[in-house]
């Protein structure tokens, strides 16, 4: 498969850029933050995204979606990374849609995919239990109880957790803390009895929540995928999210690079445009090279999710590790090259630095993924 966007994806990119720049630029996130928005995202913008078909980008046509695939989803995420648009796109349109379409039962598909496609339902994945991502480290428990299960435990860093209609929760049905076997995924309505959700105040001003499960009762139908064998589905959903985050970070990195290059062409110091200083030129050129590498590995990961999702893990791993490192370099260099103004809250660079840090940490940081990469390569 050629490593270029096809015409359809190219058009989607232009449309996304146009819409986001006009309707959901960085100033929207700033406003949501300053006004302490309870939702943490703009529902009108979200509805507009649904109308444009973005929420159905990964939903099969049979369930009312446009099924454009991961490259297309990545195109949207990348443009959102340029504008830092806050929305449940990642948690729902990418991860929720992946969860149901790849791992859901027919009943689950029929119930949830049309709602996701229509923008009527928000889903959130509750996986982490401590500050560091580790999907197989599950202490939340699900005990058999009558025909169903009773869930107990705590989850943290749940993106969109406090606005989600449905939580996808990993819990242990067998095995011990760090074992791969014995993990099961459950669909838990956020308003189920025993579910307590507390929004976390995050550095990126985006949505994240702590969730406590206290004897939450669910039926057997609430199991997503296999009982005890849920890690495979969990990793599949996570990989979709990781690729989406990588695409988002790619957009942020590109935006930082472009903004900085523009600033270097304008700002004067010592009687010269600072863009003429060779040391800054070389650093900007190095950053450009790194951003190009990041774009390539992200595109390859997305393409592989489209054509061979079961073989995408290594590439997603590489993409998240590489793009996390590149995007952080981009925000750091952007801030330093902007000098004092970059440090002010009034300027946008800080927003990029904060969001990239969160995106980098979410579902495994560069260290987590590089370590996993080494293990997958048997060393």
């Amino acid at each position: 498969m050629a490593m270029v966007l096809n015409e359809e994806a190219g058009m989607l990119k232009d449309a996304a850029k146009g819409f986001l720049t006009d309707s959901a630029p960085v100033s929207q996130l700033r406003k949501l933050r300053d006004e302490k928005s309870e939702d943490g995202f703009d529902r009108k913008t979200w509805s507009a995204m649904a109308e444009m078909g973005w929420t159905s980008v990964l939903v099969p046509e049979a369930h009312g979606g446009v099924e454009m695939g991961y490259v297309a989803a990545g195109v949207i995420a990348e443009e959102m990374g340029r504008t830092l648009t806050a929305s449940p796109f990642l948690s729902t349109a990418i991860m929720g849609a992946t969860a149901f379409s790849r791992f859901g039962s027919d009943a689950q598909k029929s119930e949830w995919l049309p709602r996701i496609a229509a923008g009527d339902a928000i889903t959130a994945l509750a996986v982490d239990e401590s500050g560091k991502h580790s999907p197989s480290k599950v202490t939340a428990t699900a005990e058999r109880s009558g025909n169903g299960f009773k869930l107990n435990g705590k989850k943290t860093f749940v993106a969109e957790g406090h606005v989600a209609d449905m939580l996808i929760v990993s819990a242990r049905t067998a095995g011990s803390e760090a074992e791969a076997e014995g993990i099961t995924l459950f669909l838990v309505p956020r308003d189920a009895a025993g579910v307590a959700v507390e929004r976390s105040d995050m550095v990126d001003s985006r949505n994240s929540a702590r969730i406590t499960l206290d004897n939450v009762e669910v039926t057997a139908d609430a199991v997503l995928g296999e009982v005890d064998g849920g890690l495979k589905a969990l990793e599949g959903i996570l990989d979709a999210g990781r690729a989406g985050l990588s695409a988002e970070m790619s957009g942020s990195a590109q935006q930082c690079l472009e903004t900085t290059a523009d600033y270097l062409k304008e700002r004067k110091q010592f009687g010269a445009i600072i863009g003429t200083f060779q040391a800054l030129q070389h650093r900007a050129a190095h950053l450009y090279s790194e951003v190009e590498l990041g774009k390539s590995i992200v595109l390859k990961a997305l393409q592989t999710l489209d054509v061979a999702p079961d073989h995408a893990a290594l590439l997603v791993c590489a993409a998240k590790a590489k793009m996390g490192q590149v995007a952080q370099l981009a925000t750091q260099e952007a801030l330093q090259m902007h000098g004092g103004i970059g440090m002010t809250d009034e300027f946008d660079i800080g927003f990029f630095m904060k969001r990239v840090r969160v995106a980098e940490a979410l579902y495994g940081d560069a260290n987590f993924h590089a370590d996993k990469f080494a293990r997958m390569r048997n060393y």
Partner: protein
């Protein structure tokens, strides 16, 4: 030596008798620091401790007694610091007046200027701000355009400064102004002291990405300055500024070390150890170990540069090495703290609030002369590489 021992004994007894118990507790946060000045709200023990120390001249132990100092020798001052540390006594007063203006006045000021300004600094009565950078004169400080006109018996200042630390809380400001627009860039600058308690001086805090506002914009709108408050010669203010910048550089560079919890300990607490008793994140472990080694090498470099200076060896330009490496290292250290903390470190307003420190550290390599400016200085002054 016997004298020094006697001094130690005396200092120990005096501190024991005079340092309030509350002032022997570690500071809980930046909010516990005593900056003094007219607007400062002291707690009772803070005020008591400051007054007692100021009385002895020990807020500025090495300044001459006639200017409010303690008149101590280097050795005595060192002993005083040791004795204060022994009982965990807090520093009674922090101030840019002590760290920056004071040394400049002692070197460049007249006897009258010293008499007027140094004692109130020593007693924490007047808080000073620094007016250096301007919106269009960041790294290129000498291109500043704030205008100072001679009006016969006084000066009138017009212009804008930026990045003035805590200007909204200060009483007076030392300002770099342009007094000759015809002269070459570095030759028309003067160094002047301005009372901020006048309508012509206004300040506006700048909110940083870390959420705090330690800096302000400061506006001069027909502000008045007295002629006797010009420090050094007219149009020779750049000399004073350079002298001060070197001080500032060392101060900021020094933040990269000392008094902080070792990175390895923090990482272990956050991430835990594996079966082999090694940090559970092996990549973080590699980064932390390499950084701790660099941090150690940096700490010893600060020590060596100081010892060389004492021995009359070494080069002054090494302060640029300390500023450059110290601030870049501090940024790296905080990135690793963030790596260690994972999502907990990404919470805003959490207890440890590593995120605010992380964001704040990004300014270290900008303020007080950017890393790029330090590298220019090293290349030119130390390596003697030619200019274009």
């Amino acid at each position: 030596m016997a004298d020094l021992e006697a001094f130690r004994q005396e200092a120990r007894e005096w501190l024991e008798a005079n340092c309030p118990d509350e002032m022997r507790q570690p500071m809980q946060s930046e909010a516990d620091a005593v900056w003094g000045g007219k607007k400062f709200k002291f707690s009772e023990p803070q005020k008591l401790w400051l007054d007692r120390m100021a009385e002895k001249g020990w807020t500025v132990p090495e300044w001459p007694t006639e200017y409010g100092g303690g008149g101590l020798s280097k050795e005595e001052a060192k002993i005083l610091r040791e004795e204060m540390r022994r009982i965990n006594a807090r520093v009674p007063l922090q101030s840019f007046g002590i760290w920056m203006l004071g040394p400049a006045l002692l070197k460049y000021g007249t006897h009258e200027q010293k008499l007027e300004h140094l004692p109130p600094i020593a007693r924490g009565e007047i808080r000073w701000a620094q007016g250096y950078s301007e919106p269009n004169a960041g790294s290129d400080l000498a291109s500043l355009m704030t205008k100072c006109e001679d009006k016969g018996d006084h000066y009138i200042v017009n212009g804008q400064k930026i990045w003035t630390s805590y200007a909204d809380k200060a009483d007076w400001i030392f300002v770099l102004v342009r007094t000759d627009f015809e002269a070459s860039k570095h030759n028309g600058i003067s160094f002047i002291l301005v009372d901020m308690d006048q309508p012509g001086v206004t300040t506006k805090p700048i909110k940083l990405i870390s959420g705090a506002s330690p800096f302000c914009e400061t506006f001069f709108d027909d502000a008045r300055a007295e002629k006797h408050n010009l420090v050094g010669e007219l149009n020779r203010g750049w000399d004073v500024a350079k002298y001060l910048l070197t001080h500032e550089r060392e101060m900021i560079g020094g933040m990269g070390s000392g008094g902080m919890r070792p990175m390895g300990d923090v990482a272990v607490q956050q991430v835990g150890l594996n079966e082999a008793s090694q940090l559970a994140d092996p990549f973080l472990r590699a980064d932390v170990a390499r950084a701790e080694i660099d941090g150690m090498a940096f700490m010893f470099t600060m020590e060596r540069v100081a010892d060389e200076a004492k021995a009359g060896q070494g080069t002054g330009a090494n302060s640029s090495v300390l500023k450059y490496y110290g601030t870049e290292f501090n940024k790296r250290r905080l990135e690793l703290m963030m790596d260690s903390s994972g999502s907990e470190g990404l919470e805003w307003g959490g207890e440890e609030d590593v995120a605010r420190g992380w964001l704040r550290s990004k300014g270290n390599s900008i303020e007080g002369g950017t890393s790029e400016v330090q590298l220019n200085i090293i290349a030119k002054r130390i390596l003697q590489l030619p200019s274009a």
